[in-house]
């Protein structure tokens, strides 16, 4: 079977800093990582391949340096990596992104075999939209299965899949069909460390690099800024409140400081006292 996993190279958000004066993002020196949510989908694809046989192709769209993330995915165990990179993709919003990725997945299908399952991350840590997976599914007319917490059965003969999906207030057990698009829930598996032979293979492996034309994209008006219905008009730092926090006096002992704080809390919110007594006594 053929599993295609869409990944994204993202800045390690824990290390992003905002310039204190200009309020712009300081990107220099921020390390990049594979979007953490994508790893759960990659791991699930690798597990299925190990179980039923086949290949895992990882795909990303991004600048040439995004090849680093693909190589990392090869190290973890993917069989093939495809980088979709072209200046025409710059400024893509999620709709334009899904157009380009869907075209590339079609091309992957023609070149390396039709995918049975396309995986994507639940969402990214930089955009947080959770829209790219569903968008790809819609464009490729794949059954859309998001927030999957476990793939219970994969029946090759009948192209059937049984899985667990997180929904509001519970878990759905679903029976569906291949081909489909799946996004895995975080924590649904434990991402493997790559083996030595995978690492060696990754070091030598060629990352298949496609521009828009290579991926069969003819209509460039559907790509990048031109293909994006949304427009970012303003980026700004949030307003500080007019007044800063009123500082509570730190006393000689933590116990005395605690008394100061409690007095200050009740002075600010007089009705809170009664609520708190009620709440505290309920436990």
């Amino acid at each position: 079977m053929h599993f295609v996993v869409c990944i994204k190279q993202v800045p390690d958000s824990a290390q992003i800093r905002v310039h204190p004066v200009t309020n712009t993002i300081m990107r220099q020196g921020v390390p990049t990582i594979i979007n953490p949510y994508d790893l759960f989908s990659l791991e699930e694809a690798l597990r299925l391949r190990d179980k039923v046989g086949g290949e895992v192709t990882v795909l990303t769209m991004g600048p040439p340096m995004a090849a680093d993330s693909l190589r990392k995915a090869l190290t973890i165990g993917a069989d093939r990596a495809v980088l979709l990179t072209d200046r025409f993709f710059a400024g893509s919003d999620t709709l334009a992104t899904t157009y380009a990725l869907a075209q590339a997945i079609r091309k992957i299908g023609e070149t390396f075999g039709k995918p049975d399952i396309v995986f994507a991350g639940k969402q990214t840590i930089d955009g947080d939209t959770a829209q790219v997976g569903p968008g790809i599914a819609k464009r490729l007319e794949l059954l859309q299965l998001t927030y999957v917490s476990a793939i219970l059965e994969l029946d090759q003969e009948n192209s059937a899949v049984k899985l667990e999906r997180r929904s509001e207030g519970g878990v759905q057990i679903l029976q569906s069909r291949l081909p489909c698009m799946i996004t895995m829930l975080e924590g649904s598996n434990i991402v493997r460390r790559g083996r030595i032979d995978d690492a060696l293979r990754a070091a030598r492996a060629e990352v298949v690099t496609w521009n828009a034309k290579d991926a069969g994209i003819e209509d460039l008006t559907l790509c990048g800024l031109r293909g994006s219905p949304t427009v970012v008009k303003r980026v700004f730092a949030p307003q500080a409140r007019a007044e800063k926090a009123a500082l509570v006096e730190v006393a000689a002992t933590p116990a005395a400081t605690a008394e100061n704080l409690i007095e200050a809390i009740f002075a600010k919110a007089p009705t809170l006292q009664a609520d708190m007594v009620k709440l505290a006594s309920g436990f």
Partner: protein, 368 residues
């Protein structure tokens, strides 16, 4: 849809910046809110959106409609009545056995058909697992813009929707427009917008809408549903008092200090994102943009620096108390009360002081 990075230098020249709305979208009118319902219960985020949608509709001088989808029965009628009580002027109701439980296929087809038939200018959905699953596929089918997880919605001078959301991992905010496409779609996370007052007896028009879908057309089947046990769920979003810890606690063992204070207060406990990423605390306890949004009466943040992505999750709290050893930490810019001290040393003292105050025998003192 703000995965893209802004590129202001190209702003003036590109097609999507044109202010003239294409002819085919001119008859798109009114503000819609998708009323999310699972197993007969309307998700509170739908009412919060109706409150916000009401303001947008009034500014635009148009109507506010709820969209209710579900299996045949009393549930959809009840949901529509609740939508009226929370501000809707009318409700579109799609009743069909294939909609009894949420599945992407029939819901996205049904909602897309309704949009194409009745043409809203704005469509709002909750950023829940259901809403995100549905919004992404509907927007792609309609080839329109969708802005996720908005923290502020407004109408511009030229009547376009201005949707503001955190960007760059939550360190900045950006305002996003869908100028040349309709409907303008946006999702909002639960508890981000205030719950509007329920107006008993307020009613509106019901507009039934038929979709031609049969169970045999739908491939994905629901074999069973396992509801969450209530005891295992955190109730952060609706708690009156919340205590949370951040990296200032320095070790997973010290997180117990947060739990101890929460226990004395009868409060829910939570954490900022780094503690979840480090695996010290489970993700259902995360407070902030990518976690839970809270609106308690009292929020105590211990050792949390207060990055934007945390701030947007707690700003709805009535009273924010920050305990932090750094008086210049960003949290001091939005907390109401600050105390510059080491949370690890201070939390046990605060816990003990509250324990004495709130014990049943201390009532006289409290009353005074």
């Amino acid at each position: 849809m703000s995965e893209k990075k802004p590129a202001p230098q190209a702003a003036g020249s590109r097609a999507s910046m044109k202010k003239e709305l294409p002819e085919k979208y001119r008859d798109h009118k009114h503000v819609w809110v998708f009323i999310e319902m699972e197993r007969g219960i309307v998700h509170p985020v739908s009412f919060e959106l109706l409150g916000e949608g009401r303001k947008l509709a009034d500014k635009l001088g148009v109507e506010l409609a709820g969209v209710v989808m579900g299996g045949p029965g009393e549930d959809v009628q009840h949901a529509a009545r609740e939508a009226f009580a929370h501000g809707a002027d009318l409700c579109y109701i799609i009743e069909n056995p294939v909609l009894a439980d949420y599945r992407n296929e029939p819901y996205s087809k049904g909602l897309t058909q309704l949009v194409n038939a009745h043409k809203p200018e704005i469509l709002l959905l909750g950023a829940t697992t259901l809403g995100r699953d549905l919004a992404g596929s509907v927007a792609t089918t309609l080839l329109t813009g969708l802005t996720a997880d908005c923290t502020e919605l407004n109408v511009d001078d030229d009547k376009s929707l201005a949707a503001t959301r955190p960007t760059f991992g939550g360190s900045l905010l950006c305002t996003i427009y869908t100028l040349n496409y309709r409907p303008q779609m946006a999702t909002v996370r639960p508890r981000v917008m205030a719950m509007p007052a329920r107006q008993e007896g307020r009613s509106g028009r019901v507009v039934p809408f038929q979709i031609d879908l049969k169970e045999t057309d739908i491939i994905t089947k629901i074999l069973s549903f396992i509801p969450d046990r209530d005891s295992s769920k955190s109730n952060l979003a609706f708690a009156d008092i919340v205590v949370a810890g951040g990296m200032g606690l320095q070790s997973p063992e010290n997180y117990q200090l947060v739990k101890n204070l929460a226990s004395v207060l009868g409060a829910e406990f939570g954490a900022s994102r780094p503690l979840i990423q480090k695996g010290w605390v489970t993700s259902d306890r995360q407070i902030g943009q990518t976690g839970k949004t809270i609106r308690p009466k009292l929020y105590i943040a211990a050792g949390i620096s207060g990055a934007i992505q945390h701030r947007v999750g707690v700003e709805g709290a009535d009273l924010i108390v920050a305990i932090n050893s750094d008086r210049n930490a960003p949290i001091m810019d939005f907390a109401h009360l600050g105390i510059v001290t080491d949370a690890i040393r201070f939390l046990p003292a605060l816990t003990e002081a509250f324990r004495q105050r709130l014990s049943p025998h201390a009532k006289d003192r409290l009353a005074g």
